[in-house]
């Protein structure tokens, strides 16, 4: 369980979905911070030692693509998993993030993808400073 206690930031405007996702990830051993829009997500991302981001795409004000691009500007090496209810997001959005998946693919897929993202930095050629 210890190796799983990464700090994950979840951003989504769907309150029920966000709440369920937080419970799911906490059960899987992650520490979870939540934000209901892009702006508050970004301030948490900047302030906290976030290790991974689970980001919704379609949100009022600032969509996921824009949030991801700003996060890259702040901490380029934090992995971002983009969740979307839409199928077929524009390439300029998907190229910004490490992984993206469609909502509804199921919890195991989400957990597995998140885990794989968090393992990457260990094997990455450039170590985290």
């Amino acid at each position: 369980m210890l190796q799983n206690s990464h700090l994950v930031l979840c951003v989504d405007d769907e309150l029920v979905g966000l709440k369920v996702r937080k419970i799911l990830l906490e059960r899987a051993g992650y520490q979870v911070l939540t934000a209901i829009d892009g702006a508050s997500g970004l301030s948490l991302f900047e302030a906290e030692p976030i290790e991974a981001v689970v980001l919704d795409y379609s949100m009022p004000g600032m969509h996921g693509g824009e949030v991801a691009s700003r996060m890259r500007g702040i901490k380029p090496n934090v992995p971002i998993l983009l969740l979307s209810a839409y199928i077929g997001l524009p390439i300029e959005v998907t190229s910004l993030v490490d992984l993206y998946m469609t909502k509804g693919e199921g919890a195991p897929v989400l957990l597995q993808k998140l885990e794989s993202l968090l393992q990457q930095p260990v094997t990455a050629p450039q170590p985290i400073r």
């Binding site: 979905g17 369920v20 009022p60 209810a85 839409y86 509804g104 195991p108």
Partner: protein
């Protein structure tokens, strides 16, 4: 040459011979008068000769009487002598009067008169006196003297006669000469006049003939021009892609071009001179009822007329084609209707294309909504599937109850959205009572997330159900379109309002309803406003099909309603308001797809 000039020439040609004949007659008159004078002079000479003869007779009578008396002494022989003596002086006077203008004759007559007087006084009187006295008068000398005197008288008489005869023959010659001259003059005048009249008439007729030739040339040129102009028009007509029929004012066909011939199925030669109604039979596409021909309509309205939509032309073989047409009057110089020209084209293909476009637009609207719907469904599904996963991996009873509640509420959301979506695409065959409030609420629900995305706040004014008869799916399409337009115009951070209310019947309109959709976007510039309802006009670039408003207006027109757009680009009060008016009980032909007009 104009008519006045021509008339002048006619007058000249008529008057000239008359003038020539008058001149000729005058010349003849002068000649005849001269000849008459000569004849009178001849007669005068004859009278003079006769008078001389009379005088001579009297003198001879006296001489004979005297000689008888001289021989016998009987007084009875002197009767003639004395008679002649009584009248001879007056006869001398007469003779003198006749020749008073001729000096020679006057002189001769004086001589005669003197000679006679000598004979009378110197011979006759003494002889008579001697005989009366009883003496003898047979003295030779005396008698010779008397003879000499009488010879002198005879000589004078002969001279007078001779002179007069000479004059008479002169006069006769003169008369002959005059007659000859007259004939010659007559011939000369006739010739001259003939030539003159001939030349003059010829020159005048030449003028007329050249004018006639010019007229002929002009006419020829006109005819050629008219022919060319007609040819040009004919070719133009033949090359036009639309059917064209021209009719006389009584509705008989005068001409039709090949396209018209193709469309009606009537060969040109057969159609000409037949009444238009026979060749151009049009009916309402939907009801099959005959439609007023444009001829009747043009005659009634005296202006260009279009024909109602959904007009079918029945061809000669009975098949039908959809046409669009118009008629226009051909005015004559006084402005009366001289004929009617009819232009029409086959719009069957166009109509099919239009229908396809409408279907495409419907699909495009559906496609745009599909993305929204996917989002609306995937979110609850994601939550539910995560909840199920949690429950399977072991939960407390309290947690389980909480999770089930959450899953149920999320599923309820899915159901609601799927219901709204179903309503949007359910086609009905006939108009049904539709609650505008319900429709608008469904649409707003489906678009809720889109509004969030666009950061648009929606204000609703839907106090109570408003019922109209309509095709619900079509109205949903219209309102979805209009609301999406408003939201996109207002974004980001803008405000839209959606409201509906019933409208009571007015003298002008039956009872109905109005749906008002307003935004506080930048407004629509004036130059764009007039094009809003045209197909393929879009301000959204790649994102718009340019068909939305065009289709919407078609649908609303079909429902007997109208769409009014008011817009304001003022920087303080900018915004756009779209009002859709619908009647409560419209007459809509059932079973036909909607059609833009």
């Amino acid at each position: 040459m104009n008519l006045t000039q021509f008339n002048r020439i006619l007058r000249q040609v008529f008057l000239l011979p008359i003038i020539a004949l008058l001149i000729t007659a005058w010349a003849l008159y002068l000649q005849v008068r001269g000849a008459n004078e000569t004849v009178r002079q001849i007669q005068e000479a004859d009278a003079t000769i006769a008078q001389v003869a009379q005088v001579a007779k009297l003198i001879i009578d006296q001489e004979s009487g005297l000689r008888g008396y001289e021989a016998t002494g009987d007084d009875r022989f002197l009767t003639d002598y004395r008679q002649a003596e009584g009248s001879i002086q007056s006869e001398f006077n007469n003779l003198a009067l006749m020749v008073q203008f001729d000096d020679t004759q006057r002189h001769n007559i004086e001589d005669l008169s003197n000679g006679y007087q000598n004979w009378h006084d110197a011979f006759a009187l003494p002889i008579i006196a001697t005989v009366r006295a009883g003496g003898k008068a047979n003295d030779v000398t005396l008698n010779l003297y008397g003879k000499t005197l009488m010879d002198q008288v005879r000589q004078d008489l002969a001279a007078i006669t001779h002179h007069t005869e000479a004059r008479r023959s002169d006069r006769i010659q003169q008369w002959h000469r005059q007659v000859r001259n007259m004939v010659e003059a007559l011939i000369a005048i006739a010739l001259g006049m003939g030539v003159l009249i001939g030349l003059f008439t010829r020159s005048r007729l030449n003028a007329v003939s050249s004018a006639y030739r010019v007229s002929l040339e002009v006419l020829g040129r006109r005819a050629e021009e008219i022919f060319q102009s007609e040819q040009r028009l004919r070719t133009t007509l033949a090359s036009i892609g639309d059917g064209v029929i021209t009719c006389a004012a009584d509705g008989r066909i005068e001409m039709m071009n090949p396209v018209a011939s193709d469309l009606t199925g009537w060969p040109q030669a057969e159609a000409v001179n037949r009444p238009l109604d026979e060749i151009f039979r049009i009916v309402n596409e939907k009801t099959g009822e005959p439609v007023d021909t444009p001829v009747a309509k043009v005659k009634r309205l005296r202006s260009v007329v279009g024909v109602a939509h959904d007009t079918s032309l029945i061809r000669k073989d009975g098949t039908r084609i959809l046409i669009a047409d118009s008629g226009a009057p051909i005015p004559d110089q006084t402005g009366e209707i001289a004929g009617i020209v009819l232009v029409f084209r086959d719009i069957t293909l166009e109509r099919r294309t239009q229908d396809t476009l409408l279907a495409n637009e419907k699909l495009a609207v559906a496609g745009r909504l599909a993305a929204t719907i996917a989002h609306e469904i995937h979110n609850p599904l994601d939550a539910v599937s995560n909840l199920l996963y949690l429950m399977r991996t072991g939960v407390s009873e309290e947690e389980s109850k909480q999770f089930i509640d959450m899953a149920e509420s999320e599923l309820a959301r899915v159901t609601q959205i799927s219901r709204a979506m179903l309503g949007l695409y359910r086609e009905s065959r006939a108009p049904v009572p539709v609650d505008l409030k319900g429709i608008l609420e469904d649409i707003l629900l489906l678009m809720e997330h889109r509004f969030l995305e666009l950061q648009v706040t929606v204000q609703t004014d839907l106090p109570s159900p408003v019922l109209v008869d309509a095709f619900p799916a079509e109205l949903r399409q219209v309102f979805t379109n209009l609301i999406a337009n408003a939201a996109e115009a207002a974004a980001p951070g803008g405000k839209i309002s959606v409201g509906t209310s019933a409208l009571a019947a007015t003298p002008k309109m039956s009872s109905g309803a109005v749906v008002v959709i307003a935004d506080n976007g930048p407004g629509i510039p004036e130059e764009v406003r007039s094009q809003l309802f045209q197909p393929f006009f879009t301000t959204k670039g790649e994102r718009g099909t340019g068909l939305g408003l065009w289709v919407s207006r078609g649908i609303i027109s079909k429902h007997g309603g109208s769409i009014e757009i008011t817009s304001n680009t003022d920087h303080l009060t900018h915004g756009t308001t779209v009002a859709v008016f619908l009647t409560e009980k419209p007459t809509i032909a059932a079973g036909h797809s909607q059609r833009a007009h």
